[in-house]
Assembly symmetry: C4
Homo-oligomer: 490 residues x 4
C-alpha cells in the first residue's frame, strides 16, 4: 500500500504522480502527450485528480492509454479534504445534499433545478447552467413561450389521451427527447448512462453527445435492444476521424445523425468561468492558458471543431451514412429553407440553449416565422422540425407542436434530475412532463398529438417581448438617490 | 364517557375508530366502502378527523350513512394539539387570527385576501388561492383589466345612480354574483350558507357549487323565499345521478343551470400540493396515492367527472329541465358561437380562475374579441354573457359590462371575506363593491347599468400585455455576478 | 389663566370646551350648528383641537362665528403630548424634521417629495399624496411622459432663451402655473398664502382652490397688485352661493374661472383613509360615520358638490361673469370638442391628479389624441388647452407644450416644497423648473416657447405603456415556492 | 524644508499658500486671475489642493503660469488625512482598492465598471458615471441594443475572422475607437495618456477631448508615429482661440475634427452634484456659486462654449483646416441629412452618453430610422456614420455595424478600466471586445466587417421599448399597504 505523503513528493513535470479513484499513477512520461494539455495534469501533480478526470474521460481511459507499469496501485485511505479544506460554501452544499427534499416533493422541472443549484458541486452546476454573455438568450428561450396563449376547446370527448408520436420513423411515447449535453459525469458518476436507462423505461429517444463523459460505446451498450438513440456530432477537422465516428454509430444502430451547426467555436460562458475549478475543463473551452486568453482565447479552439464546415459538406456526410441527417442549431428561416434544398431529413431550431450567440432569436420565434413560409411553398412535409431550449412545462411542448414542430429536445432539466436524484429523478422528470401533457391536452380539447395545430394557439400578442433583465449592467448601475438627511439615520 | 387513550388503540383497518366533532365512531365496517377511498380514513385511525371530514361532508352525513350502533358517543375533553403539536408557523397563524384588523379596516377586496393569507389554516388557504402550473393565468386574469382604460364623460347629471340589472330574468341589486367555489367549510364552519345569507341581504345571486361542503339542500334551505340561486354542475358519468341532481334543483327553485365545461379533469395545483395536509382532499384532486401519481395522477379522476361530455349532450340536458342552461368555462370565440348555435341561454367566459389550463386567455380578452363578432352576426342578444376570474374592483366590473358582459362572477374574494369575518365580512365585501360602483359610475358619467357601453372604454393599448412573472423559473435562475473582491466584504 | 384639568371636565355634548391655538372656547351651543357636523367637535371635547381645526378653517373663523362670550381665554402652558403620547413613528418624524437636508440639496421636485414624505405629519402627507383605488392612474400620469422622446436639433443659435408666454391673456415668466389643491394648512401654517407669495416673486399664476385652508380673501389679499390669480370652483348645489362666490371673485380681480368637472363626488383614497386621524377631515370626504359608510359613503356628499351639474349650466355661468371660463377635468376628446362647441375659453385635461376615477387616461395621452382632431377641424385656436397631473421635470412641460398645450398645472410638488421649506422651498422648486427649462430648450435647439412644436417630439413608441404595478394585488399574492430542504436552513 | 503648520497660516485671499504634489506655492497674486475663479483656490488656502488641481490642469501648468518666485519648495512629509479625517465610506473604499480582484477576473466591460464603482474616489466616479435628469437616457442607450436580435447563418467557413476596417481613411484593427471624455486624471494620474498608449498597442483610434486633464500636446506626444488620433472640439466663442486649436491639431497630425454639437451648455448631472467635493469641478459645470445657482446656473456657462454655433459656421471650419470634419452629437434624421447637405465628412449619432438632454433618443434608434432614408436618397456613402453611448458588448458593436454604422465610440468603459487597472486594464478591456468580436462574428457566420449587413439583424420587435425605471420617482412613491394587524408583528 502506498503512503499519501509519498505521492505528494512526485509533483513536478519530470516526476509526476496523480491519484485517481483511490489509486496512484505515474504520468511523468505522459504529461506532454495529454490531448488536453499538460497544464491541467500538472495542476494535480502529487494530488487527487479524480474530480477533474472523471467528467471528461470514459471509464476505461487509464486501462486503454496508460501502460500497466505506470499503475502504482492503491494506497491507504486518506482524506482529500485534509490538503484542501472545503470552504464554508462547500460545507453548506454538502449539508444541503444530505437534506435534500424527497423526490416526491418534485412537482415540476424547475424543482429539480432548484435542488441542483443548491446541492451540485459548484463547478458542475456552473458548467451545466451557464449561458453566453449576459444570459439573456438563455432566459428568453423560456420566456418566449409566455408570449403564446392557448385557445382551448370545450365539450370534446377527452376520455382517452394518446401522447405517442413518431420521430424520424421511431414510434415514441411522447413528443420530446433527451437532447445531447456534454460532460454527464459532472453531475452523476454514471454520466450519460443514467439518461439512457431512463429513456428506455419511459420509451423516449436519447441523443448521445460527442462530448459525453462516457464513451459512445458505453452509452450504446447501456441501451436496451428496442431503444432508439441518436448521435450529436461536433464535426472534427480530421474527416477520417469524423467518418470513423459516423460509420461506427450507424453500425451500432444509431437512428439519426444530428450535426451541430451553431458552434464553430464553443461559447464563452462567464458564469462557468467564474466557478473556481473551471480550468480543469479548459480544453473544452479553449481557455487553458492565461497567456493565450490575453491573445484571444477564441482563436485556440480550431483544432477541436471544424470552423470551415459548410453546406458543401452535407453531400459528403450523405456519402458515408444511410442514417437520417439533421442539422442541429438552425437559427433562421433562410437556413431552414437551405436545409430543405440540401435534402436534409430534419432540422433542430436551436441556439444551443443560449450558450453560443447572445441575441440569437428564441427557437419558438423562428418556428413561428418559418411555418407559414414552408406551407406557402408546400415544403412543410419535406423534413421534420424540432426545437430545443427553454422547455420546462408540457404547455411549452404543446405550443411548439401546435406551431408545427415534430417534437422538442430537453437538456438541462434532465441533467439536473440526474444530478440530484439519479435514475429515479430522470424517470420522474419525464413522468411529470407526461402527466402534464395528458392533463393539458385534455383541457385543450385534443386527444392525440396529430390533432395539435395552430387553431389551438393565439400568437396575436407574440410581438410583445418581455426581455429578461441585463443583470450585470443593472447591478453595476448606481441608482440616483434622494438627498441625505443630516443624521443619516433614515 | 370515552377515554381518548382508548380511542387511540383502535387504529387499524380491521379496528378503526375516529373522532369527529368530539364524538367517536367505529368505522371499521365502513372503511372499504368510503367513496373517497380508505386511505384518508386510515390516516386518522384512532385520531381526530374533524378537520379533514368537515370541508367535504354535509353536516348530516354521519346520521345518514353510519348506523347508530357505530356511534360510540362523546368522551372526555382532550387537547388535539397534544398528539400533534402545532408548528411555529401554526402558532404564529393562531396569534394572527386573534390580532386580525377590525372589519372597518377593510377598504377593498385585496384586504380580505391579505388577512386570509395570514390567518387561514395553511391547507384551506392553499386550496382556495392556488392556480395551475406557474399561476400566470391566475394573475393575468386580473392584470388583463389593467390594459383597459376609461373615457369618462363630464357634465352629466349623476345625482341618482342605479346599480340594478337583471340576470337570466332575475332583478338583482348589482351586476355581479357569487360564483361557485368548492369546499366552503375549509374557511368557515357554516360553509356556503354564509354566502347564502350575505347574498340574501345584499340582493345578489349565489351560484351553488357541486363540490360544496354543505349539502345542496342545506344551502337552498338557508335561502330566503325571494332569493335567487343558481346551480353549478360537474357532469357525472352516471347520467341517472346527473338527472336526479338537475331535476331536484329545478324542484327546489334553482333559476339557472351552469354546466362546467373547462374541467374534464380537475387541475393540478402545486401550491395546494405543497401544503401539508392536502392528502385529505386528495380524492378531489385525484392525487391520493403516490403509486398512482407516478403512473399519471391525471388518469385517476375519470370516475368523478365525465370526460366524454360533448356538444351532443346539450340536447339531453334540455330534455330534463326547463331551467336556463349556461356553459361555464367557455374560453374561445369559436365555442361561444357554437353555444349560440346550440341554443344555450348563456355562457360564462372563464378559465376556472386560472386553476385549469395555464395560458388559457383571460376572459376579458376573449370578451373583447367576441363582442364585435357577435354584433356583426347580429347574435349579441341571443344569450347572456358572463365572465369570472380576477375581478377585484368595481372598475373591473364596469369594464366588463362596457365591453358587453351581462354581469361578472366573483369567487375567491368572497371566500376570503367569509373565512376571515364570516357573515359580516361577506356583507362588507359586497358593500365595498357597490360603493365603488356608485362612485365610479358617477365619475364615469353614467347613471344606470344599461348606459354602460364601449364608448366609455379605451382598448387601444390592449395589445400590450404585462405578463406576470414566472416566479419559479425566475427564482431558480442564478444571476450572473460581478467579480468578487478579495476580502469578500463587499 | 385656565387650568388644563378644568378644561378636560367639559367633555360632553351639553358642556363642550375645546382648545384652539392655546385658548379655550365653549362650543356647547354651537356643536349642533357646526357645518362640518357635530361628530368631529365632540371628538375633541375637553381637548386640544388645533390640528383638526386649522387646515379647514380660515384664520378669522372663531372671531367671525363665535360670540366673544364663548372665548374663555388662554391658560397655562401644557404639553399636548402628555395626554396623547406620540408614537415611535411620530418621534422619528419629528427628529427627521430637525435633520432635514439643506434647501441647497434639493436638485429636483422629487427631492421635495422625499423630504415631505419623511417629515410631514402622517395625516397631511397622506391627504396630499394619496390617489384613488390602487393609485395606478396617479403614477401613470407621470409615467406617460416617459413614452415620449425628443428630437433635439443641433447647430441652432441658443444663446438667448425666453421662457415667457401668455395664459388667458396674462404674460407669465414660464409656461406652468400653481394649480388648485385643497387644505394648504395641513402642510404649512400660512397655507395657500405661501404659494401666493412664491408665485408673485416668480411671476407665475396661482389658481385658488375652493377647498383652501385660508379664506379666498386672505389669499387674494396676499397677492401683489400685478399678480394674476385664477379661481378653481366646486359648483355648489345652491346656485345663489355659487353666484356670490363667482361675482366676488371677479370683483377681486380673478382672471379665470376654472370649473371642476371631474369630481361630482370626491374620490375615496385608501392611503388617506389608512392614516390615523383622517376622521378629522371626514366631512370633506363624506366618510364621517361608519354607519353611513356601510350604506355607501359615496351618497353622503351630495350636499357639498352639485352632482347634477351639466352642459346646460355653462350658459348660466356666462351670464354671471365676464371672466374666462375653463373646464378643469376634461378627460376625453369628445368632451373637449363639446367644450369648443359651448364656447368655453379653455380646458384643463386632467384626471384630478389620479384622485378620482382609476384608469382615467393620463392627460398627455388625451392631448396626443386631441390635437390632430382639433387641427383637422380647424379648432386648435378656439380655446386654450392646459393639462395637469404627474409633471415633475421641465422635460415633461416641454413635451406637453410641443404637443399643443398652452401650459401645465403643477400641484403636489409645490405643496411638498411648501410643507418642507416654506416660501423659500416653493421659490426654489419653481426656480429648478425654470433652470431645467432653459437648459433643455437650449439642448432641444429652441429659444422661445412658441417655437415648440410636434417636430421636436417622437411619439412613435407611445403605444407601449409601462403600467405601474398593482401593489396591493401583487403584495397579497403568495408566490409559488420551490420544495423545502429538510433542515429548512436554506 | 517647509513646515506644514507654517503653510496653514497662509489661508486668506491676501496671503494664500497652497500645496500641490508635496510642494507649497504662494498664489496670493494669482488668485484673482485664476481662469476657474478664485473660489476654488480659496477653498484650499493653506491646504493641499492636489486632488482638485490635478484633473483640470496639464502637468506643466505651474511651471508655465506661476513665476519661480512663487514656488516655495517642498516640505516635510505630512499626512493629509490628519486635517481632514477620511469618512468610514472613504476608508472602506481604500480597503476595497487594496482588495480589488485580479485583472484576470475581468470578463467583460461591466466588470471594470463594478470595480470602479467600489474603488474610485467618490468625486471621480460620480463625474464619470453620471447622466442628466433621471438617467433614463443613459440607461436606454444601452437597453436599446436589447431590442435588436441576430439572424445568425450556419455552415459558413468561419476559420479566418478579420476584424479590421477603415475609419476616415485610417486602417484600424477593429471597428471601435476610444471616444473623447473629460478629466482623465480624475481616474488615473497619467490621465488620457493611458488611453493613448493602449490605443497604440491595440491599433485603434483615440479621440482627444477638449476638456482633457493632460494638455493636447502631452497626449499627442505620447502617441507613436503610426498612431492615429482625432480631436473632439468644444467650440469657443473666441474664434481666434478656436482657430489656433484647430490649426495646431492639424499640424500635429490629427486625422479628424469632431465638433461637439449636442452641448451648447453642459448638462446638469445630479449624481455628480450630490458627490461631496464637486465644487472643485464647478467651473466646468458652471455651478460654482450658490447665489448664481438660485438665479439659474444654466446661464453662467456661456463664456465657455459658444451657444451661437450654427450651420453657417461649418464653412468657416472648412476654411481653416483640411482635416475631415465630423459632427459629434447628431440626434435626428433631419440633422443627419443637413450634415450631408453641408458636405460634412461624417457624423456621430450621440446624445453625449445620456449626459445632456434627457429623452434624446438612443443613437441606435436614430440609426435604424436614418439608414433607409439615406439609402432611398442614395446618400449612404456620402459620409461616415458613427455612434456612441451604451456600448458594452461586441454584440452591440456588431448590431450597429449591421445597421449601417462605420464604427462605434466607447468612452466610460475605458475610463473605468483605466481608473482601476491602468494601462493593462485598458489593454484588456479592448482585448475582451476583440475576443468577443471574433467569437460572435464566427457564430454569426461572417468573416469580415464589410460582410455585416441588415440581413443578419432582426429589428421586428424594435418598437417594444423596455424603459429604464424612473428611480427617484419610484423611490419617493409610497406604496399602498394592507391593513395592519393589531400586534404589528406581521
Amino acid at each position: 500500500m502506498l503512503d499519501i505523503e509519498e505521492v505528494k513528493k512526485h509533483n513536478t513535470r519530470k516526476d509526476c504522480w496523480v491519484i485517481i479513484h483511490g489509486k496512484a499513477y505515474d504520468v511523468s512520461d505522459f504529461v506532454d502527450e495529454h490531448p488536453g494539455g499538460s497544464g491541467v495534469i500538472l495542476k494535480y501533480a502529487g494530488k487527487d485528480a479524480t474530480k477533474a478526470f472523471d467528467p471528461i474521460h470514459p471509464g476505461d481511459t487509464l486501462v486503454k492509454y496508460l501502460a500497466p507499469k505506470y499503475h502504482l496501485g492503491p494506497f491507504e485511505d486518506y482524506d482529500d479534504d485534509e490538503d484542501d479544506p472545503p470552504s464554508q460554501e462547500e460545507l453548506r452544499r454538502r449539508q444541503k445534499k444530505l437534506d435534500k427534499p424527497d423526490l416526491s416533493q418534485m412537482y415540476n422541472l424547475n424543482d429539480f433545478e432548484f435542488v441542483a443549484r443548491h446541492t451540485m458541486e459548484r463547478t458542475a452546476w456552473s458548467y451545466y447552467s451557464s449561458g453566453c454573455d449576459d444570459e439573456i438568450t438563455l432566459r428568453e428561450n423560456h420566456a418566449s413561450y409566455h408570449r403564446v396563449f392557448f385557445k382551448p376547446r370545450i365539450l370534446v370527448d377527452v376520455t382517452n389521451i394518446d401522447l405517442s408520436t413518431t420521430m424520424l420513423g421511431t414510434k415514441v411515447s411522447s413528443p420530446f427527447y433527451i437532447t445531447a449535453t456534454a460532460l454527464g459525469r459532472l453531475g452523476h458518476k454514471d454520466g450519460e448512462k443514467v439518461l439512457t436507462r431512463a429513456a428506455a423505461k419511459q420509451d423516449i429517444i436519447q441523443m448521445i453527445p460527442t462530448l459525453a463523459s462516457c464513451s459512445f460505446d458505453e452509452i450504446v451498450d447501456e441501451a436496451t435492444s428496442e431503444q432508439t438513440q441518436w448521435l450529436q456530432l461536433y464535426v472534427n477537422k480530421d474527416r477520417e476521424i469524423c467518418e470513423k465516428i459516423v460509420r461506427h454509430a450507424e453500425e451500432r444502430g444509431i437512428k439519426g445523425l444530428f450535426i451541430t451547426v451553431d458552434a464553430p467555436q464553443l461559447g464563452r460562458r462567464e458564469k462557468d468561468m467564474r466557478s473556481k475549478k473551471i480550468e480543469d475543463l479548459s480544453h473544452v473551452q479553449g481557455d487553458d492558458e492565461e497567456a493565450d486568453r490575453s491573445q484571444g482565447a477564441a482563436r485556440a479552439i480550431s483544432s477541436f471543431i471544424d470552423t470551415s464546415l459548410n453546406w458543401n459538406d452535407i453531400k459528403w456526410f450523405r456519402s458515408i451514412t444511410k442514417m437520417p441527417i439533421i442539422l442541429k442549431g438552425v437559427q433562421t428561416v433562410e437556413d431552414s429553407l437551405l436545409a430543405v434544398e440540401h435534402g436534409l431529413d430534419g432540422i433542430v431550431l436551436s441556439n444551443h440553449g443560449g450558450r453560443q450567440l447572445e441575441f440569437s432569436k428564441p427557437p419558438l420565434e423562428v418556428l413561428i416565422e418559418l411555418m407559414p413560409i414552408l406551407k406557402q411553398k408546400g415544403l412543410q412535409d419535406k423534413m421534420e422540425i424540432y426545437l430545443d431550449g427553454g422547455v420546462r412545462r408540457a404547455t411549452d411542448i404543446l405550443k411548439a407542436i401546435c406551431l408545427g414542430a415534430k417534437g422538442v429536445g430537453i437538456g438541462r432539466p434532465f441533467l439536473y434530475a440526474m444530478s440530484t436524484y439519479g435514475d429515479a429523478g430522470v424517470f420522474k422528470a419525464i413522468q411529470i412532463l407526461k402527466d402534464e401533457m395528458v392533463m393539458n391536452m385534455r383541457l385543450l380539447g385534443v386527444t392525440s398529438i396529430d390533432q395539435l395545430s395552430e387553431k389551438y394557439i393565439d400568437t396575436r400578442h407574440f410581438q410583445t417581448r418581455y426581455l429578461p433583465e441585463d443583470k450585470l449592467f443593472g447591478a453595476v448601475y448606481e441608482p440616483l438617490v434622494s438627498p441625505a438627511f443630516k443624521d443619516s439615520k433614515l
